[in-house]
Symmetry: C2
Subunit: 350 residues, 2 copies
């Protein structure tokens, strides 16, 4: 796994998207979000996605320079139309607006319709945390997951992220798909010809399968059975139906029909701690909770207890020191992007 | 399982709590919430709890006539102190306030500190749905669940409920503990001398156990591994730390130290559909989603696909027609309550 300078990756992705038609402001924001994911070791949502974003940009399904326009403004709740712009840009702006409203009213909720794939949700909840808010981000996605008890797809992988500011401790950042695993992990197993656990997916016959090829023709399973499936539904309703965006089956998959906007929806919620117990009190209490949980005796088979987002925070710190390690798939995507726009791909650090 | 008239159960519980010192208004609200749970077949949160509520009321840890006083009011977000009153009453009033603020600002979030066990969360989200809002209810609870990777308890069973208004279809109501199962199910297995699945709990040695007695001395497991554990943490932070309530390890268990207030926290959030896509649009889209999901072909081992809360809705309809079936444990609790306050316990329908 070669290592890369974070700034070089950001510059490259931004320049490439700019050559593809993106405004500088949005190109740099998308580049920052993708590199943030790689820094945290979440490579599935890192620069590897720049290739498909570029294709959608060039095909017009991601519209350059789209504004996040306000459709309805009730004060603490706002609904926006992303105008088929970059999902990352719409989600970041919506999040900033949610924080602004939370600072004024104690809580802010911003719904987004007509958006596209917005990448790693932790990017947005970390943004809220940096401003001293508690952040909740939901996004829906195209149908890939079978509702509990069904054999066919309906829900997206519909992720949920919650960011909580710490004091001396790093923030707690939960960021999880409501599917048992991401689609990419099944695809990776298929490429490597390896079996998958029976808890990941159903085949086209509606039975749990260990064959990743069968799984790709079938449906992913929600995590945690009926409960995870219920949460996937809730995300589809809150981020999709309520905001006026598409629901799972109406959303265009990221890698198909590249000239067609996806119609993804997001819901960003910010809670302003000073409207509750106070930010400094919250920071102190979160620090204590984090330290107490981390110090619990580990269960059999574990070395220690990790807080949500703690491992990603460590990887981020290491990558900022040592450079960002990129898996082969990401390197290949960067090379593809470089060829498409006539740039030189970033080179690994010596 | 004997059947009872719902109104007779409500009258009995209200009268008993009134004799225990509760004001009529709160006694009737608690009675309605408990019977609502039994109507829905959620007997673990039904009239069976009237016995411990009465004991706590008589011991002073549930304070009769407590107001829900506003500690801080930021407009859309409000923090309240329940004054150690009935959790059910505090949660219901907080929910009503959240809906009121949502109608004004688009979203409302009401945190509650110094509260007690509030029973089945679906009671409150159904309340929001009846007023045309989307409702989210969170409550924390005393430490019973081991964080993912730990061998000892820290989080409560920290439930989450989300209520979504339908149109012609009944509302979708998710209501789930973030533990794999409720503590009561382990206790029931211990009483019957039956083994439990290895996914439910750890023994005191930190290993998954099938022995319910070992489990009771150990810790429950979160549902869905690290993800469910992360959600349990989020509920503890949002309902507990942020509101200024206790966190898991600080909360007094419902059935221990009966003279000590529990210090539970709740967070009630309401989203006002007319601030988003509009209530009638939402109702129509939810109906369509419900019908599409219900009509999906079932997976192996399933007869059909059920929506969250749909089975409870059916049981409710049946119980309203036929009377409420009560399990033996509930009947015994009613008899205990009757003896304690000098009332006749309700009689089963002939």
């Amino acid at each position: 796994m070669g290592r890369y300078a974070p700034g070089a990756l950001r510059s490259f992705v931004a320049e490439a998207l700019h050559r593809g038609g993106a405004f500088w402001e949005e190109a740099e924001l998308v580049a920052d979000a993708l590199v943030c994911a790689d820094l945290r070791g979440v490579h599935s949502h890192g620069v590897v996605r720049s290739a498909v974003y570029l294709k959608r940009l060039q095909a017009g399904s991601i519209r350059a320079g789209a504004d996040l326009s306000v459709v309805h403004d009730a004060g603490a709740a706002v609904v926006c139309d992303a105008g088929s712009g970059f999902g990352v840009v719409a989600a970041a702006r919506a999040m900033d607006l949610a924080v602004e409203r939370a600072a004024r009213y104690g809580v802010g909720a911003v719904g987004v319709r007509n958006s596209n794939h917005c990448g790693m949700l932790a990017y947005f909840t970390l943004r809220e945390v940096a401003r001293g808010a508690v952040g909740v981000a939901l996004s829906n996605a195209n149908a890939q997951v079978a509702p509990f008890g069904a054999r066919t797809r309906y829900f997206g992988t519909n992720p949920i992220s919650v960011g909580i500011p710490g004091g001396e401790e790093p923030p707690v950042v939960l960021d999880m798909a409501t599917s048992e695993v991401a689609h990419g992990r099944v695809r990776a197993a298929a490429l490597r010809g390896e079996p998958i656990p029976r808890t990941w997916a159903l085949g086209p016959d509606g039975r749990p399968t260990t064959d990743p090829h069968e799984a790709l023709r079938g449906a992913l399973l929600a995590f945690g059975g009926a409960k995870g499936s219920g949460l996937a539904l809730v995300v589809d309703v809150l981020a999709g139906l309520l905001t006026g965006a598409g629901s799972g089956p109406e959303i265009t998959p990221l890698y198909e029909e590249l000239d067609r906007p996806q119609g993804v929806g997001h819901l960003m919620v910010a809670l302003w701690p000073d409207a509750f117990c106070g930010l400094s009190t919250l920071r102190g209490r979160v620090d204590r909770l984090v330290r107490e949980v981390r110090a619990l005796p580990p269960a059999e088979g574990f070395d220690r207890v990790w807080l949500p987002g703690e491992m990603e925070h460590r990887r981020d710190a290491e990558a900022r020191r040592m450079g960002v390690g990129l898996p082969e798939e990401s390197v290949l995507a960067l090379q593809e992007v470089a060829r498409a726009v006539g740039l030189r791909a970033p080179e690994a650090l010596a």
